[in-house]
Symmetry: C2
Subunit: 210 residues, 2 copies
């Protein structure tokens, strides 16, 4: 059994309401060094080949420190993605329409897919490397919850008569990083087709009284 660290709580960031953990000065410095080292190594040799020990070593820090700060490997990768993820979240939560507020919910839903697709495409290897191996935890990642809530709100707002909870999961599943990667790379589908599939799926979710 793993008990949570005494106070440092290993980065649950990215949930909307976030109390800054207020790290000790040295801890904050090491955290920054670790992220920088991780980013550099990931860029050099690919995120998939990143080892925790290499990061610790490159940051001139003990291995235990990495784990105390980030919990585990996915935790570190997620922290690396955090910045990008925040930019994407801002885009659909407070950015310009039709992705952001201002457009009708239906249009925002349609805009969400291509935006997410392109966003993840730009950081593919990092997103793929950050996937939780444990199927249970994959669905409790903060970033996923945010997207789920967003989609659920839009669906309700658009007046769907589907079960919003489940419909949002369906939409989220369609955008799953691993699935998209498989469709694009392994199966070789053009991006346009996957986007078209999204639009069709959204439309179907909004059809009423079938």
């Amino acid at each position: 059994m793993t008990s949570p660290p005494p106070h440092g709580r290993t980065e649950l960031s990215l949930t909307p309401v976030e109390a800054p953990p207020q790290l000790r000065a040295d801890a904050a410095r090491n955290r920054a060094r670790l992220l920088e080292a991780a980013a550099r190594l990931a860029a050099e040799q690919g995120a998939a080949n990143l080892t925790m020990e290499a990061v610790a070593c490159a940051a001139q820090v003990g291995k235990g420190t990495v784990f105390r700060r980030f919990g585990d490997r996915p935790g570190l990768l997620l922290a690396l993605l955090d910045h990008q993820e925040q930019r994407f979240q801002e885009a659909f939560m407070s950015g310009p329409a039709p992705l952001g507020p201002g457009a009708p919910a239906g249009e925002r839903l349609h805009a969400f897919g291509p935006a997410a697709l392109r966003h993840e495409d730009a950081h593919r290897d990092l997103y793929l490397a950050a996937v939780q191996p444990d199927p249970a935890r994959r669905h409790t990642v903060p970033a996923r919850l945010v997207r789920h809530t967003h989609l659920a709100v839009l669906l309700r707002e658009a007046g769907t008569d589907a079960d919003v909870e489940l419909a949002a999961q369906t939409l989220l599943g369609y955008l799953d990083t691993g699935l998209v990667h498989h469709l694009l790379t392994v199966r070789g589908l053009p991006l346009a087709r996957v986007e078209a599939g999204w639009h069709d799926l959204v439309s179907r979710m909004l059809v009423r009284g079938h």
Copy 2:
């Protein structure tokens, strides 16, 4: 780079057309012993806690033998599931209607969800433990391909005007073991609601000219 073993090819079973690898006598004996030991250990202490070494040891066999035969841990777990999986495949490919042939494609699609849900529910821990950690390989598991093809055929037969390839992936995603487990266990949704969600989703996939 991992090159495939000389002849024994580590179990790609469960693809419809299957050439029996024709193992040597001792190899076949050890394979059986390993599966039996694995099944016993999985039942005793949970599939999630199964270690390859423990299986090897319990089967009175070297560790290398386990890996040569099954490739890796997911491979072993998949082999353990193979029998159950085959029974399920028979049920929807040649069993009684409405799941099997005989009923109209639409009805068969509706029947598929609850059947899959209940089937995986009965072997939950094994299915969860057998999930490939690597997101790329998760989509190339033979059992998944079979289901995908089946759903695609039914969708086309039912005359959907959606992109069958993508629609089948969407349906498959809705039934994802990890997702369903999360919805049922973590979120606490009743099974009936998830089943209702399936029926709604299938209906939407079959709506025409929206």
